[in-house]
């Protein structure tokens, strides 16, 4: 890939974010490595509780502490380790060079302040503009995210806007200081499908015009396909597969990813029942020995129950964390259904 030669914007190395609770240590993120290059979109996909949101909060330095703590690892942003910065230094980066949008547009805006107030706030602190100038900027931002009548909207309150509009406001707020990285934590999950498509399209076009990178966190493979350049699949606090988006969809090498792909209904195939991954995500307080996916994996055997696999290069630019990915390859060739159809 061409962008491999570019300087990395974000380089996460062996990040471990743990929560020290009364019941025990929850290893929400347990040793993950990934990098984001300038101008690309990295998708992070996984089920609820796999650690994808905690990953994003770790980068933002917003993990609630206590009980949470970055126990180990580095988050290099343009070569600076964010985990070593003070709160004051971190505040200069937050909302300025790295900004974030959240899942729930209905609750992510403060109900008691106007849209303009909330957008201009970040502009005032990071760009040092006066309130008046910042308001003007805010109007410009609202125009860019496609909100009609921005001069009027700026004086309105969040409850006067629809969910899609509010997410646009969130995007305007996040982009107001030209961030280099936008972290989007399930930005479309709470929206209905047509609005989802609009928001993704908006993000794609803004990414191009701003030249920023996006870290897209989602559980929705459709969103990943729509927007990502490369994808990290997370399971139980670890990355289990990491490659570019086309390879991932064409040739998933981890049984978990394979299961996710198979559980998507397909319009071009006549299927009565979907193949689903059995079981649920294991309790983070009580992860199984060996591979964390062994409680649900149809291929799990012997070694999978005793030793945790390392993430290895299965092919050029295609990492996978599985003892049996080669066997899966064989089975795929022979068209064996490894997951049962759901009754």
């Amino acid at each position: 890939m061409a962008n491999k030669n570019k300087e990395k914007l974000v380089d996460v190395k062996n990040l471990k974010t743990y929560f020290y609770t009364e019941e025990g240590v929850v290893k929400a993120v347990d040793g993950i490595d990934f990098e984001i290059y300038p101008g690309e979109t990295l998708g992070i996909v996984g089920e609820s509780g796999c650690g994808k949101s905690v990953t994003s909060l770790s980068i933002m330095g917003l993990v609630e502490s206590p009980p949470g703590k970055i126990a180990e690892g580095e988050i290099l942003f343009e070569g600076i380790d964010l985990t070593k910065l003070s709160q004051a230094e971190m505040r200069k980066i937050r909302g300025n060079e790295i900004s974030m949008i959240f899942q729930e547009p209905m609750t992510s805006l403060n109900p008691v302040y106007t849209i303009g107030d909330q957008i201009s706030e970040a502009i005032i602190i990071h760009k040092g503009l006066s309130k008046k100038e910042a308001m003007k900027e805010s109007v410009e931002m609202l125009k860019k995210v496609g909100i009609p009548l921005p001069e009027q909207r700026i004086n309105e309150y969040p409850h006067q806007l629809s969910g899609g509009m509010r997410q646009r406001v969130m995007i305007a707020m996040a982009l107001s200081c030209d961030p280099k990285l936008l972290i989007a934590d399930e930005p479309t999950t709470a929206l209905d499908v047509t609005i989802q498509a609009q928001i993704l399209e908006l993000m794609n076009s803004l990414k191009a015009s701003y030249g920023m990178s996006i870290m897209m966190i989602t559980h929705d493979l459709g969103v990943i396909a729509e927007i990502s350049d490369r994808v990290a699949v997370m399971y139980a606090g670890k990355i289990v597969e990491y490659t570019d988006v086309n390879t991932l969809f064409a040739d998933p090498k981890h049984p978990y990813t394979w299961g996710l792909m198979n559980s998507i209904p397909k319009l071009d195939r006549d299927v009565n029942r979907l193949q689903a991954i059995p079981g649920i995500v294991p309790n983070p307080l009580n992860f199984p020995d060996g591979c964390k996916f062994n409680t649900r994996c149809p291929l799990a055997e012997g070694k999978c129950f005793t030793d945790e696999p390392k993430i290895v290069d299965a092919a050029e630019g295609h990492k996978v964390r599985c003892w049996r990915y080669k066997d899966l390859e064989e089975m795929k060739k022979q068209n064996v259904k490894i997951y049962e159809e759901q009754r």
Partner: protein, 308 residues
């Protein structure tokens, strides 16, 4: 916004009319013949009859009611049976003491209550938090007369820091204990409420958004969280004026202060109906107005209310 104010203000009118009616009914159904109370034991039947006629007490109830409404609206509430002062004059002369007490107590309750509540919430599970929770629990659980007596014993008798009774020549030091006594309960309530709403609010998504913008923690708490957390606190402040007004009666009795509370207690023991009516009406009016003020300030704190 303006329409909301007007609508709320107009909504007070039926409430006031209702209050007047209730006050009339209460003072009519309680036993005791006003004419006899005025004359004491010496009144002969002829004089009593005359007085009843003069006061309109021989009229049918509905006629008396209409007359009462008229009297209230013309501020002609009659004279005390005891010392012949007009009701308005009596209230006027007693009001400053009570107002000082109530306003002082409310200021202490709100200022200290909200600040301690915020501190507790932002320092959850520290010893300061536990301490403030224990004291506020005690504060809520202790009735005014208990707090008052304990304060007198400790601060006036044992330590001798402040006077424990009377008003002296009206120096501020005489107000210290009464104001504290009256303020403890609403303060304790406000501490707990502020703490719990604050804790709820700081976990809201918009607080996360504010942090993600790179705002200072102070701005996050005092700008983004506090304004949201105060909405339920304001409601409680309005409701607390009621317990403040009843607390005033106890406090003024404990500290022998010449305020409205003492006036009304004396009026009740003396069956001084015009004064009872006057004071009860006045207090009800204060309560209604306080809650109107609360309603109006919602419009300021919560934009969602103005347009609905």
């Amino acid at each position: 916004m303006f329409a909301y104010f007007i609508r709320r203000t107009l909504g007070v009118i039926p409430v006031i009319l209702g209050v007047i009616l209730v006050v009339f009914i209460l003072t009519t159904i309680v036993p005791g013949d006003p004419a006899r109370i005025m004359m004491g034991q010496r009144g002969d039947p002829e004089t009593l009859k005359l007085i009843r006629k003069e006061m309109g007490l021989d009229e049918p109830t509905h006629v008396q009611l209409v007359k009462f409404y008229k009297d209230v609206f013309t501020l002609n509430l009659g004279r005390s049976y005891r010392n012949n002062m007009t009701v308005i004059e009596s209230i006027k002369s007693r009001l400053p003491v009570t107002a000082t007490l109530a306003i002082g107590a409310m200021i202490i309750a709100v200022v200290l209550g909200v600040s301690i509540g915020i501190y507790s919430a932002t320092h959850q599970y520290t010893w300061q938090d536990y301490l403030s929770m224990i004291f506020s629990l005690l504060g809520i659980a202790s009735p005014v007369y208990f707090v008052g007596l304990i304060m007198v014993i400790i601060f006036a008798r044992k330590l001798g820091w402040v006077p424990g009774t009377g008003l002296g020549n009206g120096e501020w030091i005489y107000y210290v204990l009464p104001i504290l006594t009256l303020g403890v309960r609403p303060m304790a309530l406000i501490v707990r409420l502020t703490r719990s709403t604050m804790l709820e609010v700081v976990h809201q998504d918009y607080v996360k958004t504010a942090r993600a913008k790179g705002l200072k923690e102070k701005a996050v708490i005092y700008k983004h969280a506090l304004k949201n957390a105060l909405i339920p606190v304001i409601t409680i402040i309005g409701l607390q004026t009621a317990s403040l007004l009843s607390g005033v009666m106890l406090t003024e009795t404990i500290y022998s202060l010449p305020g409205l509370g003492r006036l009304s207690i004396q009026a009740v023991t003396n069956r001084d109906f015009p004064i009872i009516r006057g004071v009860v009406l006045f207090m009800a009016l204060v309560f209604v107005l306080a809650n109107l003020l609360v309603d109006l300030s919602y419009g300021f704190f919560d934009p969602r209310i103005r347009y609905e």
